[in-house]
């Protein structure tokens, strides 16, 4: 694997390989010594043009557990705020000797540009670009669903026949997009639930079903309910009348939680708006996988960095997934 830019073009074999290697990485994290020497001498740059603490420290932990050196480059307070272009920033990283660049950018497609422009030879991992994709989040979600469902017997399995409901601001959510592509590639049935104003226009082209009524979707007894964060910073336009109304119609409250069948799980990519899209009862319940998702995120990112950096570099295959 040369880059990880999206889940839309990720084939099933590669996706399962990442999930299975993440299982092995996860096993090593229960050992006495968690640090592995695998990527000794490699340099990973976290290039974050958008605020993100969770994703950045998750990538940082993953790189450090594999003994790679980590350089954090936050755009705020850096040369970028002085007007440096993406190209110049990238070439600076190349000159420093980055082997992999983990990039988060407000513009959809920025990681793709970085990977294909020829500015850098490093492998590129998309850590969230605009409203496009957030592939490692979807991978860790798929890993979490699989692990809860199959436990120690997870290796090699896909998600055939599992039903996943994704609820909330699909319009602005790169997490939802990455999950739609990955989960359907792995064989799951995905249902989106959102207010009509927060459903993307081209959704009819996606391999999903759209429902506007949360209770209707939950009545079908899904295996996993994934609550998306209402991104209050993006809510400047009037997508729904009030937060209270949103919470009442599309929030996962105690009553809806109680109606879920045994074994179905509640997911949230974090950070949570407690009381808005998810109630504390749901967030703290046995069904909630919120903290498992964080733990699994490190294993998934270790697997991705391993696949990008450990093997022999295959220069002529540059540009592929």
């Amino acid at each position: 694997m040369r880059h990880l830019l999206d889940t839309r073009t990720l084939d099933k074999v590669t996706a399962l390989r990442i999930l299975d290697i993440a299982e092995d990485m996860s096993d090593t994290q229960s050992r006495e010594v968690k640090k592995l020497p695998t990527l000794r001498g490699k340099t990973v740059v976290n290039l974050f043009f958008e605020d993100s603490t969770r994703t950045r420290i998750s990538f940082e932990a993953a790189a450090k557990r594999l003994s790679a050196d980590v350089i954090n480059f936050a755009a705020k307070g850096s040369s970028v705020s002085k007007g440096e272009s993406l190209k110049d920033t990238a070439q600076t990283l190349e000159a420093i000797g980055a082997d992999a660049v983990v990039v988060r950018h407000p513009a959809s497609g920025a990681p793709q540009t970085l990977a294909t422009s020829g500015w850098i030879s490093a492998g590129v991992v998309n850590a969230g670009d605009g409203t496009h994709e957030h592939p490692t989040q979807a991978l860790l979600d798929a890993f979490t669903i699989r692990k809860r469902r199959f436990g120690a017997d997870s290796r090699g399995r896909d998600l055939s026949g599992l039903r996943v409901v994704i609820v909330g601001d699909v319009l602005h959510s790169r997490v939802a997009r990455s999950n739609v592509w990955l989960l359907t590639t792995l064989g799951a049935d995905v249902t989106l639930v959102a207010p009509p104003t927060l459903v993307p226009q081209n959704v009819s082209l996606w391999p999903v079903r759209v429902v506007y009524d949360l209770d209707q979707a939950l009545a079908e007894g899904p295996d996993a309910v994934m609550m998306l964060r209402i991104q209050l910073e993006r809510m400047n336009a009037a997508y729904f009348p009030t937060e209270r109304e949103y919470s009442r119609r599309w929030g996962l409250d105690a009553l809806r939680l109680g109606g879920l069948p045994d074994g179905s799980i509640v997911m949230h990519p974090g950070p949570m708006n407690r009381g808005l899209e998810i109630s504390s009862e749901a967030a703290d319940s046995e069904r909630s996988t919120v903290l498992e998702q964080v733990t699994n995120g490190v294993s998934i990112r270790m697997a991705v960095l391993y696949l990008l950096l450990a093997g022999e570099r295959d220069e002529e295959r540059g540009g592929d997934q």
């Binding site: 694997m1 390989r17 299975d20 290697i21 299982e23 092995d24 096993d27 090593t28 050992r31 006495e32 010594v33 968690k34 640090k35 592995l36 020497p37 695998t38 594999l66 290796r155 391993y306 696949l307 450990a310 093997g311 022999e312 570099r313 295959d314």
Partner: protein
């Protein structure tokens, strides 16, 4: 491409029985023994040895798997390898007598990686090495304690170990 068989099915079985006896002899019994195979065929051999030792000593000896992929120093020289699961028996390895088991001993680099991998899991009292085929060409100061067969080979030759559980046939061949 001529493949010459150097160990037949019966030879493999005799070699393993002898190694089982040697392990028991050098350890003065089966106490504290843990057999850890290096994937993939080392795991099969470790399981077989554990059965043999358990039969001879009339006590159960645990066997597991120790993956060394993430500890290798030659990852960048090959296409990306997929790791295998590591399976440490319930009693752990602290204070135990660990016998590493692999099919072929060549450069010794897998064993070096295995020693590092062991260190991240715990601290055995003693680590020993059992090998089905020692083909020479060591690149590190590593030496097996129990050897099925010494097979002098040219560096360019290939030594193939096939085991029924993994390959549906059994034997060791050497290919030019």
């Amino acid at each position: 491409m001529s493949a010459r068989t150097v160990l037949h099915e019966a030879d493999v079985s005799r070699a393993l029985t002898r190694i089982a006896h040697e392990i028991l002899e050098s350890n003065r019994g089966a106490e504290n023994l843990v057999l850890l195979g290096i994937p993939t065929r080392g795991v099969t051999l470790a399981r077989r040895l554990a059965v043999l030792i358990s039969e001879i000593a009339q006590t159960s000896v645990p066997a597991g798997a120790l993956d060394v992929t993430l500890f290798r120093d030659d990852l960048a020289k090959h296409p990306t390898r997929s790791p295998h699961p590591t399976d440490i028996p319930a009693g752990g390895i602290d204070g135990k007598i660990v016998v590493l088991v692999d099919d072929v001993l060549f450069s010794g680099r897998s064993i070096r990686a295995a020693l590092d991998a062991l260190q991240s899991i715990g601290r055995p009292a003693i680590v020993r090495l059992a090998i089905l085929v020692d083909r020479g060409h060591r690149e590190l100061p590593i030496r097996p304690d129990f050897i099925g067969k010494n097979i002098p080979s040219a560096r360019s030759e290939r030594v193939n170990v096939r085991l029924v559980e993994d390959d549906r046939s059994e034997g060791v061949t050497i290919e030019a």
